[in-house]
């Protein structure tokens, strides 16, 4: 059976920055009911070097993150490994960089995707903004539908 990891990251204490984590929590609840053997869920404040080892154990990985970019509601894209480290904040890593590191250090390259969910405010609050909540609902429905189709076919 194919093993899938859904990995949400961000700081839920920074409003919409926590969208990836909120999404992962909901996927976790859903996966435990429907695909407990096939789907693992993890979450953290940010991606880091040890995640390169973690993803090496999976066939497919979905990274879920908040986005401040001008996208409509959410975007689901395929990731390619990249050594371009765009984030200069030194402990934060881009998912493409984690993927590159995974391949370089552990010789594995799981098929990886990035779920970007549009966020709007980034202050020190727990609660998501109203629009971000709507985007979370829609992205959750989309990702669970994709996972269901994928696991039915495999």
């Amino acid at each position: 059976m194919k093993k899938i990891l859904v990995y949400g990251y961000g700081n839920p204490g920074r409003q919409d920055d926590g969208l990836g984590v909120h999404c992962a929590k909901r996927v976790k609840e859903w996966a435990e009911k429907h695909f407990p053997e096939a789907i693992d869920v993890d979450m953290n404040y940010q991606l880091n070097i040890e995640d390169a080892e973690k993803i090496s154990h999976y066939d497919e990985v979905i990274f879920a993150d908040a986005s401040a970019e001008d996208i409509i509601e959410f975007a689901f894209t395929t990731l390619k490994p990249s050594k371009a480290q765009l984030e200069f904040s030194m402990h934060a890593m881009a998912p493409a960089y984690v993927l590159y590191l995974c391949h370089t250090l552990f010789g594995k390259q799981p098929k990886s995707h990035l779920l970007h969910i549009r966020g709007y405010e980034w202050g020190m609050k727990e609660e998501l903004t109203g629009k971000a909540k709507q985007n979370l609902d829609k992205s959750f429905r989309a990702v669970t539908m994709l996972l269901t189709n994928y696991l039915s076919d495999n």
């Binding site: 700081n11 839920p12 979450m43 984030e87 904040s89 030194m90």
Partner: protein
């Protein structure tokens, strides 16, 4: 007439900062500044919140060292709920917090060394920028890179098991902790499959130290002379003078080793430490009150800790400590790049402490919170040694248990003045009499700052992400050169 060179942000440093170097007509460095330009508003944010929320709330500062803030806040609240002055917890309460804290120390130091600093040692500060990162290490020394990844993973596992979860962990609560560690959980870390076990972590910590010492042996002049300047050093030490990152008294020594703060109670830190505000930075400049702004600034962090403590209560780290002290004939070590040496000794120390704590049966005790408490107070102060240095949390509450005042002096803020001086020292060494800026010059300044492992996100509470930008301004203020990295 003068020229101004601006480097922003500092790569591979938490958050971001901007470095300005002022040259005169002869292209000599006459001034330098590390600007921190993000607004710091966290203290105001917690006002009005119930005090028991603080240990979880403070983790919102940033996701880089949440455990340090979590524990410092919990220590302050121990005082408020009448659970002693930082040493009044049950055995399991204190040991679980220590285990969590050493786990954080281990992973934080490992990440800094393997991911951020070792590229400078492997490739040199004038090496190819494309290689000076963990990918470069992976391509030239895969074993070292894998070790870094797995050591970091081990530290994260220690945190997960002690804090309960990775995000907004709730392990430490006022007066104690909310979980103990089962024998099975201890075994997970003690007897995990290679390499994820405590013995392997001790072994790899020793080999990381050897890696640094070999480099130092071959490049001792370069390492020793880089941003070397006398300073005071401050940290917590245990009451008997041992290195202790969880609890103790405040000690400071000057550049020659003379005690200038003699094991004072940290609950009175405000009697000894003051913070200066400068218009060009949001980060304050702390100093020892009795010595004044000019003479009272100090370093904190690994180098300072090994300069203030008398010994390390762990056999392998103690042996390394003796070698470290012998290098400067027992005097304080004032060489900025020796932060890395000190940091790796602390990695070894942390691995030893974690291993020993995991064998301690007190971790399975059930008395998680102190039952007999003293009088509730309206004010509490918690101080710990965070990976980057001494961290102060100070809270006041009202009769409704709401926080009315919070003051945080974070490690990076304590290192503000020495980081500025390191920039100045490096700029003079690398930029004097040069009209154009090269990549190695820029990186040299960054190497100097990086030695302190600053967390600018933490010091300023920035979200922190932007490209690297460098600007050179001429004597009349117009832009002579502008470079952007992305």
């Amino acid at each position: 007439m003068s020229k101004k060179i601006t480097i922003e942000p500092v790569t591979r440093v938490e958050g971001h900062g901007k470095v300005t170097i002022q040259l005169n007509d002869n292209h000599e460095v006459i001034d330098s500044r590390l600007h921190i330009v993000e607004f710091r508003g966290f203290e105001r944010f917690v006002q009005g919140r119930p005090y028991w929320e603080a240990p979880v709330l403070v983790q919102r500062l940033c996701g880089i060292c949440p455990v340090s803030h979590h524990i410092a806040a919990a220590k302050a609240l121990d005082v408020i709920v009448g659970a002693g002055d930082g040493d009044g917890l049950t055995a399991v309460g204190e040991k679980m917090r220590r285990l969590m804290h050493y786990g954080q120390f281990f992973q934080s130091h490992v990440l800094h060394f393997f991911h951020l600093s070792s590229p400078d040692f492997l490739f040199g500060i004038d090496g190819d920028p494309a290689m000076r990162n963990i990918i470069g290490i992976a391509m030239t020394n895969k074993e070292l890179a894998v070790q870094g990844v797995m050591m970091r993973k081990f530290g994260q596992e220690v945190i997960r098991l002690t804090a309960g979860k990775k995000i907004h962990g709730t392990g430490a609560i006022p007066g104690g902790i909310n979980k103990n560690l089962s024998i099975a959980e201890c075994d997970e870390l003690l007897k995990g499959p290679d390499p994820l076990n405590a013995d392997k972590m001790v072994e790899w910590s020793l080999s990381a130290l050897e890696f640094f010492k070999n480099y130092h042996k071959q490049n001792h002049t370069k390492v020793d002379d880089f941003a070397s300047f006398p300073s005071n050093h401050l940290s917590l030490v245990r009451k008997d003078g041992a290195l202790d990152i969880y609890h103790g008294v405040l000690r400071a020594v000057d550049a020659n080793g003379k005690r200038i703060l003699d094991d004072v109670d940290y609950h009175e830190y405000y009697n000894y430490i003051e913070e200066e505000v400068k218009t060009w930075s949001y980060m304050k400049f702390p100093y020892l009150k009795h010595l004044g702004k000019e003479k009272g600034w100090y370093r904190v962090g690994p180098l300072a800790r090994l300069n203030t403590c008398d010994f390390i209560p762990a056999p392998l780290a103690q042996k390394e400590f003796e070698e470290f002290k012998a290098y400067t004939h027992g005097k304080p070590n004032n060489m900025s790049l020796h932060y890395h040496w000190a940091r790796l000794i602390e990695v070894l120390h942390s691995a030893e402490v974690i291993r020993d704590l995991l064998h301690d049966p007190d971790l399975q005790n059930d008395d998680l919170v102190v039952k007999v408490k003293g009088e509730k107070k309206h004010e509490g102060i918690g101080v710990i040694e965070a990976p980057r240095g001494t961290l102060f949390h100070h809270y006041k509450i009202d009769d409704n248990d709401l926080i009315t005042m919070a003051n945080l002096i974070v490690s990076t803020t304590n290192n503000n003045e020495p980081m500025n001086r390191s920039v100045a020292s490096t700029a003079r060494a690398f930029m004097n009499e040069h009209e154009t800026i090269t990549e190695p010059m820029m990186n040299a300044v960054e190497v100097a700052i990086r030695a302190y492992d600053p967390c600018l996100s933490c010091a300023t509470h920035a979200l922190g992400q932007m490209p690297l930008e460098m600007t050179i301004l001429g004597p009349d203020g117009h832009v002579l050169d502008h470079k952007m990295k992305d």
